[in-house]
């Protein structure tokens, strides 16, 4: 088989993650979906690095992980404080952008 399939897989996972973000209301699950998307990207990067035969792709993936970690930390903190205040983790409850 040829390694392009990895890219197909990555695309698939990314799409699933994105859809999840759109569908789920529980903030935590939404976050998980975001993680999923990030991982899909990572997979793609790794596959690319294999294609081009250099490690830059892996470096980028590595950075992605770091950033993802940071993002998760902050995001979960936000969720917690949100839950503290309004006793729910639903993203729809925080619909204050309405006119």
């Amino acid at each position: 088989m040829n390694p392009v399939n990895y890219l197909y897989l990555a695309a698939l996972l990314f799409t699933i993650g994105a859809t999840g973000v759109l569908i789920r209301r529980n903030a935590i699950v939404v976050f998980m979906c975001i993680e999923l998307m990030l991982n899909a990207c990572n997979l793609a990067f790794v596959a690319f690095s294999r294609m081009h035969g250099n490690l830059d792709g892996q470096i980028i993936a590595f950075f992605t992980m770091v950033v993802a970690a940071a993002e998760v930390v902050v995001g979960l903190a936000i969720i917690v404080s949100l839950f503290r205040t309004r006793h729910s983790a639903s993203v729809d409850d925080a619909s204050l952008m309405k006119l």
């Binding site: 973000v21 759109l22 729809d92 952008m97 309405k98 006119l99």
Partner: protein
């Protein structure tokens, strides 16, 4: 000498300005100022007249150029006055009779607190009329023309607190405006045809253009004349104009306003001579009005309205004569002048009667007044004899000539017109006799009658001051009122004879209007005889009806024609139904259309945008996820775009 023309107009204009701007300070002397200034302009007129008589017939035209009024491209309107025999005649008539009426009004309006303003308006009236007859081009004439309209508006509506008066004034102005429309269109036609609208160029080049154009101009001028001279179909304002004080009626009917139309037609004689169709129209209008006015005059119980009807019919005579062309012009003017005398006399007499009867105008509540106001009776009587054309008096000469001329038109037209004129003479005799009998003869129907009868609501404030509502005490009017009446009576007795002995008037006017003897199928004597017969018949019928048997105080229902005539032959009703009602509906519906349709489209567009933005606003539902969807969709579109770009 021609420099005297401007002052002739300026004098009454000055009077109007002074009296209207002067304020209360002038209240005590105002009326004398007005009278004096109109008299002044009469004096100027006399001086100029003497001057003209000094010249030989061909050079009796003075012109005075003051300044260029409007000058745009080839459109040149000058303020230039032209004094020739025709305008001279009018000047004397206007200023002379006008001054007498001023004098009369001093007494008549004595008790009116707004007398000063009244005289201001009178002076304005004179000034406008003088401008009308002295103008050297049609546009300047138009100024005087509308000025007369304005003055009549102010005077007819002088007692503005009476809604009827205000309405009558408005009506008069509007109907005149319709006529003015004709005049302005005529001026435009002249400008496009001759490149000018001054008398000289236009009247001397009528030969160079097509008859169609001239007919159009003629008809438009006729329309204008109908408006001012109260000819059918624009006569409806004249009757209502009686809402004004009686001197105003005298002024309008005798000296100034209604004569303007005749002046216009005679002045534009050259145009009409070259346009037979227009002439025919003029004669028809004249004949119809002649009968119309006469019939209306027969049915009115209001003395002023009856006289108004007679004016209509007399002006009809003049228009008829003017329509006959060179054979009639001179006689039209002659009748106009004599009519000026006796009609003014009649109106002043009527005013004097009302003055003595607490402003009662219903002739059915008069009767037997000859004992109580002898002067009025005599002067009125002389005027009466004059108007019915009693042999020897002025009406006899002038009217007779017109009837002759009508026959002289020749052909069936001649017969028809002449017949109409004869019939008119008969009816005139009838209704004037009726007025005479009902007013001065018979038993005294005003005894133990409450005045201010319902169909005569013309409450003149003068009377209100005296506050007499009980039985009237008929009395002769003061000298200041009777003297003018006497003077006019003299004029109406001898005027005609003076003019026609040796055709003085003919020779005087001929250089301007031209004259030609038509070939009459009847001899002058025959016509005169016929006229006499008609006269006798008319008087006889009137005597049979109103002289022998007593006159009922409450008007009998009368025949269909009578009732129609009382309502001005339903012409007002027609106007009311068709024009007034129709107009109201039109405007009301247009207001609706403007609000709903025109404005509705605009507001609709606005509302549409508002609604649209409201819809779009819904998208901003504040749910992060739906924003995310749009982001995601956008991303998808971007991918698609890039792919497409690669594909192509």
């Amino acid at each position: 000498m021609e420099n005297l023309i401007a002052p002739l107009i300026a004098a009454p204009l000055l009077g109007a300005a002074v009296l209207l701007l002067g304020g209360r300070r002038l209240d005590r002397v105002g009326h004398w100022v007005g009278t004096l200034l109109s008299a002044t302009s009469f004096v100027f007129g006399l001086i100029l007249f003497a001057d003209l008589l000094g010249k030989d017939a061909e050079h009796r035209t003075l012109t005075q150029h003051l300044w260029t009024w409007i000058s745009v491209g080839s459109f040149q309107a000058d303020v230039t006055f032209r004094l020739d025999q025709l305008s001279m005649t009018f000047v004397l008539l206007i200023t002379g009779v006008g001054s007498l009426i001023h004098l009369y009004s001093v007494g008549y309006m004595e008790h009116d607190e707004r007398r000063r303003r009244f005289f201001g308006y009178l002076n304005l009236f004179l000034a406008a009329m003088l401008l009308l007859v002295l103008a050297d081009n049609y546009l300047l004439l138009y100024v005087g023309w509308e000025g007369v309209g304005l003055a009549s508006y102010l005077l007819i509506g002088f007692w503005q607190h009476k809604p009827s008066a205000a309405t009558a004034a408005k009506k008069a102005f509007l109907v005149n405006r319709v006529g003015d429309m004709g005049l302005s269109i005529a001026i435009m036609l002249m400008f496009t045809t001759f490149g000018s609208f001054a008398f000289g160029p236009v009247l001397s080049h009528t030969g160079d253009t097509s008859e169609g154009k001239l007919t159009a101009i003629g008809l438009m001028l006729l329309l204008a004349a109908c408006g001012k001279s109260a000819q059918v179909p624009l006569q409806s304002w004249l009757g209502d104009a009686m809402e004004g004080p009686t001197p105003v009626s005298a002024l309008i009917h005798a000296a100034t306003m209604v004569t303007a139309g005749v002046y216009l037609i005679v002045r534009s004689g050259a145009v009409f001579n070259a346009a037979p169709d227009a002439q025919l129209a003029v004669t028809v209008v004249g004949a119809v009005t002649l009968l119309f006015g006469a019939i209306v005059g027969c049915a009115k119980d209001d003395i002023k309205k009856a006289l108004a009807g007679s004016t209509m019919s007399q002006i009809g005579y003049m228009v008829l004569a003017a329509g006959l062309g060179p054979i009639g012009y001179v006689f039209a003017i002659m009748h106009l002048v004599t009519h000026g005398f006796f009609k003014a006399g009649l109106f002043l007499g009527a005013g004097s009667v009302m003055h003595g009867m607490n402003d009662e105008v219903d002739m059915r509540r008069y009767g037997g007044l000859r004992k109580y106001m002898p002067v009025t009776f005599i002067t009125f009587g002389l005027g009466y004899l004059a108007i019915i054309g009693f042999p020897g008096l002025s009406g006899f000469f002038s009217k007779d000539k017109i009837i002759e001329a009508a026959f002289a038109k020749g052909g069936t037209e001649g017969w028809i017109l002449g017949g109409a004129a004869l019939l008119g003479a008969a009816i005139t005799a009838f209704y004037m006799t009726r007025v005479m009998l009902m007013t001065f003869f018979g038993e005294e129907r005003w005894r133990n009658q409450p005045t201010r009868s319902p169909q005569a609501p013309s409450a003149e404030p003068a009377a209100e001051h005296r506050g007499e509502h009980a039985e009237p005490h008929p009395h002769e009017s003061p000298k200041v009122m009777t003297i003018p009446m006497i003077v006019l009576a003299v004029g109406s007795v001898f005027g005609g004879a003076f003019f026609s002995i040796g055709d003085r008037f003919l020779h005087w006017l001929e250089p301007v209007t031209g004259h030609s003897e038509g070939d009459s199928p009847l001899s002058a004597a025959a016509v005169t005889g016929a006229t006499m017969v008609c006269l006798v018949i008319g008087v006889a019928i009137a005597w049979a009806q109103y002289g022998r048997k007593p006159v009922p105080v409450v008007a009998p229902r009368g025949s269909l024609l009578t009732r129609a005539a009382r309502r001005d032959l339903l012409q007002d009703d027609f106007n009311h139904v068709v024009l007034v009602r129709g107009g109201e509906h039109l405007t009301r519906s247009l207001v609706y259309v403007d609000h709903t349709l025109v404005d509705g489209v605009v507001n609709g567009t606005a509302a549409g945008f508002g609604g649209l933005s409201g819809r779009l606003r819904r998208l901003q539902n504040g749910f992060a996820r739906s924003y995310a969807v749009s982001m995601f969709g956008g991303a998808a579109l971007l991918v698609a775009a890039t792919l497409l770009m690669r594909a192509v």
